[in-house]
Every structure is written in C-alpha cells, then in structure tokens.
C-alpha cells in the first residue's frame, strides 16, 4: 500500500521551531488517529473495517507489518469481536486501541458496557456516522447513543486535536481506569488533510508512562476470577466506586490538558469559550468540526459567542457553568445538533439543560447537519438569525 498521506510539508519548515520536538506533516484525521496510537505505544490492535474508519486500521496494519509500530494487529470477525478482544488484552494488562464508526459502534454496544464495568483503560477512535438507512456521512448519533455506557467521550475539532486528545486520553484512562472514546467527524475530518504537528515519540514517552500489567490484570502467579455473577449489594458498591472515579474526570481531564500544554505547547480545555463575556447576547454551542465553521462566522458579530464542548461525557457541568457565568441574564443559547436521538431535543440541548439548571438563560435547539448534511457558514448565519428573531424551542434548519 502506498503511503500518500505523510507527505512532508517542506514549505512550512521555517515554522518548525514553533513546537520543539515535533514534525509538521500534512495528514488526514484518520491518519492522525493511527499516528497517535503508534506514538502511545499501543501493543494490541484488534480491528474490523467500516467506512469511514477504514484508513485508520489500514494505516495501523501497514505500520505494524513494516515494523514501524511494535504491536500485534489482528483482523477480527466483527466489531463485537474487536471490542471483546480489546477487553481481553486490556485485562491482560496491554495498552490497546481500536477504531470504528456508526453500525460498528452500535454493534459493539454490549461490549462497551462490559469494558467500562471491568474498569479497563483503553482508547478508541470513532468516526461518527448514523444508522441505516445507509449513510456514511458525518453524524454524532452513533457515539452519542453510547453516552450511558460509562465511556469518557471527547470530540475533536481538528486532526491536531484528535492526535493530541488521544495522547491525553491514554493518560486519563490509565489514571482513572476508565475507557475513552475520541470521536472525529466522518470525511470533514477523517478524510480531510490538515497540517498536523506530530510530536516525537520520546516526548510522548515523557508524558505517558509505559503500560505495565497492574494488580487487577490477569496474573498467572496470582490468579483471580473476573466478572462472575455479582450479588446486588456488591454490584451496587461496584457502581458507587465507578461513580466516585467518573466524577473526577472533568477535573482530571483539565489537569492532564494543562500538563500536556506545558510539555507540548498546545492548550486544550474541557470546553472552550470564544467571545463569551458581559457583552455577549447569543452563544452558539457546538462540538467537532462545526465549531471551526462557527468560529469564522462569529468573527463579524461582537455580541455572539461560541461554546465548544470537547469533553462530552461525563458532561463537564462545572466547566460549562463557569464559562457561561459571565453572560448577561438575557443571553440566549443555541446548540447546533448534528445528531438525532429519537427525542424532542438533540443530545447537546439535553446535556446543556441539566448543566444549566438554575441558570437564567433561554436555550433554543437547532438541528442542522444530521446524516452529513453540510453546515456551511450560511447555515450558521440562518441559525443566528432565527435565534435572534423568532425561534421555536426546537428548530430544524434548512429542511426543504
């Protein structure tokens, strides 16, 4: 297989000092995810192909077979099996990675619960696409439908963010014994080439310690039984300990992002507030690549802000509240939904509403972009116009 992705962008070499111990490459989002798995020294990749994830596993298989990546790569028989193999290897104490999309994630749903309840640290990439009727385009319904599996979820705005977030996610996963899903947009990210600063692997090593089997791993000399029938009082307590760790995610993720910024020079937060202040009258709320479009549009509106949600699960309630605390009481919030969850409001609205309980803001929901429907600047303009004039509580934009 020809590697046409990792072309060196020699024209930008003069900028190479911007991030020491990095190389600047042009790569698609999917290759950024594969590259991150390599940089994190993943030892096992069970894989099953699905559009638009395929180039992630192709790239990983290529890197493993060429010796560029020291890992075992296994072509599995389904996503259910791929995630179950990831479960097995993680229980064995290995650092594992797999990637999927849409139906693949839906199919693995049962295993997602098991991985989470086994408290297995791992990171996966999901390239968001919705359910049948067949649609391979960008949509977050697949991963949002896994909100309640116990997985941490990050949504990446750019290929750079996908790569950086995966590195941070392994640390978060291994510190809290929780699985993490990093979600990227189909095609807008997965198959779009961007400039990406790729850190040297020894820099990643300084940030992310080597994975070694722990006291809760399979150990021949100290055998254990994992996952047998658990009576109610024990099961209840198990969930309590899970909850105790899950509620630390928000703070821990910020801490890890801070440490990452110190070492790598790029800053991330659970949420990002853009132009949110006392002068702001309307705040768009976005995840993933729609954020980039909205960033461009709001530049000409001094009274419009943007709240980007990067950590989606557990929903960063405190971060959201803090970001919005400076708003005037009559500010309006407008989530832009690239999902449909079978309910009246979209997933962002639902989560925002519980984060906003007790806060005075009015919120109107805007469905735009499900099934990969493009959300260009003009659609963002329409949402702004609608939000400022005569919004319904729930609005579908651009339905012809």
């Amino acid at each position: 297989m020809k590697t046409e992705i990792l072309e060196k962008n020699t024209g930008l070499n003069k900028q190479a000092s911007r991030y020491p111990r990095h190389r600047q490459l042009i790569m698609k989002g999917n290759y950024a995810a594969a590259e991150a798995a390599k940089l994190c020294r993943v030892g096992f990749v069970p894989a099953y192909p699905i559009t638009p994830q395929t180039t992630i596993v192709e790239r990983l298989s290529e890197m493993v077979s060429s010796g560029e990546m020291d890992a075992k790569y296994t072509n599995m028989d389904s996503e259910h099996s791929a995630f179950a193999a990831a479960l097995g290897a993680a229980l064995g104490g290995e650092r594992v990675f797999t990637a999927t999309a849409g139906q693949g994630l839906f199919y693995a749903h049962e295993v997602l619960h098991a991985i989470a309840h086994f408290r297995l640290p791992m990171v996966i990439a999901n390239v968001g696409r919705p359910s049948i009727p067949w649609n391979i385009w960008s949509d977050q319904s697949d991963s949002l439908a896994q909100r309640d599996t116990g997985w941490v979820q990050f949504y990446g705005e750019s290929s750079q963010e996908v790569l950086d977030t995966m590195i941070q996610s392994y640390l978060l996963a291994e510190q809290l014994n929780l699985p993490v899903m990093v979600v990227l947009d189909a095609f807008y990210q997965s198959h779009t080439s961007e400039n990406v600063w790729v850190p040297d692997i020894d820099l990643v090593d300084e940030f992310l310690p080597a994975k070694v089997p722990g006291p809760m791993s399979i150990d021949i000399d100290n055998p254990k039984a994992f996952g047998g029938l658990m009576p109610p009082e024990h099961y209840n307590k198990l969930n309590y300990t899970y909850w105790r760790d899950a509620i630390q995610v928000e703070e821990k993720a910020e801490q890890i992002a801070r440490d990452f910024a110190t070492l790598f020079g790029r800053e991330y937060h659970n949420v990002e507030a853009i132009n949110i202040g006392p002068q702001t009258k309307l705040v768009l709320i976005t995840v993933s690549s729609i954020t980039s479009t909205a960033r461009g549009v709001i530049k000409k509106y001094p009274d419009i802000g943007l709240l980007k949600i990067r950590l989606f699960k557990p929903f960063p309630k405190a971060s959201v509240q803090e970001a919005l605390s400076v708003l005037p009481k009559d500010a309006i919030l407008a989530p832009v939904e690239r999902n449909y969850m079978g309910d009246r409001e979209g997933a962002i609205f639902q989560e925002m509403q519980r984060a906003l309980y007790g806060m005075p803001f009015k919120m109107y929901d805007f469905y735009a972009g499900a099934g990969g429907k493009d959300v260009p600047p003009v659609t963002i303009e329409k949402i702004i116009h609608l939000a400022r004039t005569n919004p319904k509580e729930v609005n579908w934009v651009d339905i012809s």
């Binding site: 028989d77 039984a225 994992f226 047998g228």
Partner: protein, 303 residues
C-alpha cells in the same frame, strides 16, 4: 476398550465444592481438564451453566485465572488475552474457552469461526448438553431431533436435526479437534493431553450429561453417556486438518432406543404413533456413522 484404573487426579486444580446439579458433567469435565492443563492456564467463560458452577463472586471453583465474558464473545476475548500473554512472553500459558452448546452452536458461532480461521492459539471446550440448560432448558441448534424443551414443549418437540458443529469446525482446517465422552475417561484424558501438546486453535466437544434438562436420574449420567457412544448417537472421533479418525468403534451396535429410553425428554417417541420418528433417528444415526467411516477412509486415501 480395556478398563483403566489410573484416572486418579494427581494435581488437583479445583477447590472442593461445586455448584453443579447432581449428575452434571461440567464438574467432572473441568476437574480432569484442569488437572491435565495445570496452573499455567487462563479460562474464558461465556454465559453458560459453568458461569454459575465456577462460582459467583466472591467464590471460585478453579484455582487458575477465570475471565467471565459476554455470551457471543468468548473466542474474541480469548484472542485478546492470548495477544496480551504473548506480548508478555507467556506463550506457553494455555488460554481455554469453556462454553456450552448455546454459546458455541448459536450466539458464539461467528466469534468461534473467526478465532478458528485466524488459527488463534486457543483451546475451545464445548460441553454439549443439547439446550440452554442454565436458563431452563430452551432449545439450541444442538438440541437433538425429537427432544422436548421448554421452547419446544409437548407435541411441539424439536423437529429439526442438530447442527453438525464438528463438520463446521473441520472445515476450518484445525490442527486438532475431537469429540469426548465422560464415560470414556481414558480417551477423554488422552485427547486433552494431545490438545495441550498441539499448537493453534483446538476444539474438544464433550457430550454433556444434564439430569434436569434430559429428564434423567443423576446416578445414570455416566451410564447414559456410555450408551450414547455405544448406540453411535455420540461417536468418538478426532479431526486433524480435516482428516477424520474414529477413536472408538462399538463392537455391537445397540439400537438408539437403548440410550433414548432413559431420557424423559424423548418419552413421547416411545408412543406407538411416533414409531416412525425413532426409525428416523436410527436412520440418521446410521447415516452419520457411515459418513464418518467414509471420511475416515478418505483420510487414509489422501494420506
């Protein structure tokens, strides 16, 4: 076959006390299996009777590591465990799936086929008791023709033949697969030893006595298991790279009734109006046996 008297377990790998029903085959099977495989073993259990028998939290029957996993996912989970152990240099550790027929013939078949086709270095043990016994005797595709279950009740007894799992497994070109009976313990132990000493994906299918499911007397379990072999309802054979070899050929063929009559699940077959069904079962059994003989001959021709 000469009676053997050196079956005594020398290296006990289970704790005393098991939660199996009286006359169940699982405990006997696992006790011998575990003693032969030794402590350097990781067991992987999909949902099955043995999930319970092996001990609810915090109990454990087996002394080795046990990983309970999802019904459809045992061979895939085992694949991951194998990968982790291999990465850590523990290539000699046995990774062993202990599954029932539902988890093998039905919901786990895809994962089983996948692991077998990848030649994963895994041992797969299927205790075939011919139904979903743990959930209360519901029909699986291993359930014999004519058997009554709670989902084929009364006159709705099962009217289709069970899946030929060993044929499916043979098609995967495995280094070793065999059928075993707890009534032929020496043969069983030899097959386990051979399995242990072979590399790659290996499968043993054991005829699983189940008094509550088969409606039999617990004390008759081994006797009925022996009759299943003697009537050729459960032939004992090995498959090495698609080459079949019968490991036991009964000297005189007992009619199938001799085994079926002890089992309440077949009681209705002995009514006058169902005589043709018994004949069907005999004919199917004869055909299967003759087919196995032909496959054995074929193996000799090719070899």
């Amino acid at each position: 076959m000469k009676p053997a008297n050196d079956f005594l377990i020398r290296d006990e790998q289970v704790f005393s006390g098991a939660l199996s029903c009286r006359g169940c085959g699982w405990s006997l099977l696992v006790r011998h299996l575990a003693s032969l495989l030794g402590p350097d073993t990781v067991y992987v259990l999909p949902a099955s009777c043995f999930s319970i028998i092996s001990g609810p939290y915090p109990l454990a029957e087996l002394k080795a590591n046990v990983v309970h996993t999802l019904f459809a996912a045992a061979p895939a989970t085992a694949t991951g465990i194998r990968a982790a152990l291999d990465r850590q240099g523990k290539t000699k550790t046995n990774v062993v799936v202990l599954a029932g027929d539902g988890g093998t013939f039905d919901i786990g078949l895809q994962a089983l086929s996948g692991a077998a086709a990848r030649s994963e270095n895994i041992i797969y043990i299927v205790n075939n008791n011919g139904a979903y016994m743990n959930t209360g005797i519901q029909t699986s595709t291993a359930t014999p023709y004519g058997a009554v279950t709670t989902t084929n009740p009364g006159e709705g007894y099962k009217k289709s033949w069970p899946k030929d799992l060993m044929g499916i497994i043979a098609a995967h070109n495995l280094p070793y697969a065999a059928t075993c009976s707890l009534a032929f313990m020496e043969d069983f132990r030899e097959k386990v030893t051979r399995t242990k000493n072979t590399e790659g994906f290996r499968l043993l299918m054991i005829d699983g006595p189940c008094p509550p499911g088969h409606k039999t007397e617990p004390g008759d379990s081994i006797h009925i298991a022996r009759l299943a072999v003697e009537t050729r309802l459960f032939p004992l054979f090995e498959i090495v790279r698609q080459h079949y070899k019968l490991t036991y050929k009964p000297e005189s063929f007992l009619p199938v009734e001799e085994c079926l009559k002890y089992q309440g699940r077949f009681r209705h077959l002995f009514r006058e109006e169902n005589k043709a069904m018994l004949e069907d079962i005999q004919e199917h059994t004869d055909n299967t046996w003759n087919r196995l003989l032909a496959l054995e001959k074929l193996a000799n021709v090719i070899a």
